[in-house]
């Protein structure tokens, strides 16, 4: 069964350091999402890509976060500098797009758990 690949699974860093997360979506999925989930809360959308274009990054703290999907396939989310409040699970998801029945059903990766000390 096709999966969304994410790495690293766990990352511990000190505040003010740079962190990067990588995501490889399911082949053929044009839409890619980065979510942040703080323990005990629901997922919060950080950025949504349609192919290589950003569709929504309204909740992305752009002073320290950046995301790219240069060739419309895999994607990288970067945090620089990391702050204590960034400790969370970072989830990548992908989906097909359009109006078909299965469209917009997100398949999530295993997540990258970030701890900032």
């Amino acid at each position: 069964e096709a999966e969304v690949a994410q790495s690293p699974r766990y990352k511990i860093t000190e505040k003010s350091q740079a962190v990067a997360f990588w995501c490889d979506p399911i082949s053929g999925h044009a839409t890619l999402y980065w979510y942040r989930q703080i323990l005990g809360q629901g997922p919060e959308l950080l950025v949504q890509f349609q192919d290589e274009s950003v569709v929504d990054d309204s909740q992305l703290p752009k002073d320290r976060f950046s995301a790219e999907r240069l060739k419309g396939v895999d994607s990288t989310l970067k945090i620089q500098p990391a702050e204590l409040g960034d400790s969370a699970m970072y989830l990548c998801a992908s989906s097909t797009s359009g109006y078909s029945v299965g469209a917009n059903v997100l398949t999530f990766g295993a997540g990258s758990r970030l701890t900032v000390l």
Partner: protein, 111 residues
């Protein structure tokens, strides 16, 4: 602004009992999704509800959608311990299908 409210946020129940989780949303939408998340794990899609009156069932879980009431329910029948998880509903905006997530319902089923 679309708001999605789940209740209860926490539910502890005994095996064998029935219960319902509610998902209310504040604007029109005809696409609603239910996801499951096990502790420390990622989210898994359970159901996609695409029209008024839609009902989907998988094992002991049944989800329904009433678009006129802006309400979806997730019903658990004869609960078993393996269903312990956090359940999220997410509603798609009509305009661009962006998902708005509920806060989740943490379900604990005691043997």
């Amino acid at each position: 602004e679309l708001k999605v409210e789940q209740n209860p946020l926490f539910l502890s129940m005994q095996e064998g009992k029935n219960y319902t989780i509610y998902c209310n949303y504040s604007t029109t939408s005809d696409r609603l999704y239910w996801y499951r998340q096990d502790p420390g794990k990622s989210l898994e899609s359970l159901f996609v509800l695409l029209s008024n009156g839609a009902v989907k069932q998988e094992g002991r879980l049944m989800a329904s959608l009433d678009t006129k009431a802006r309400l979806s329910t997730l019903h658990i029948t004869a609960a078993v311990h393996d269903l312990s998880a956090t359940y999220f509903c997410a509603v798609a905006l009509d305009s661009n299908y962006q998902l708005i997530w509920g806060a989740g319902t943490k379900l604990i089923i005691k043997p």
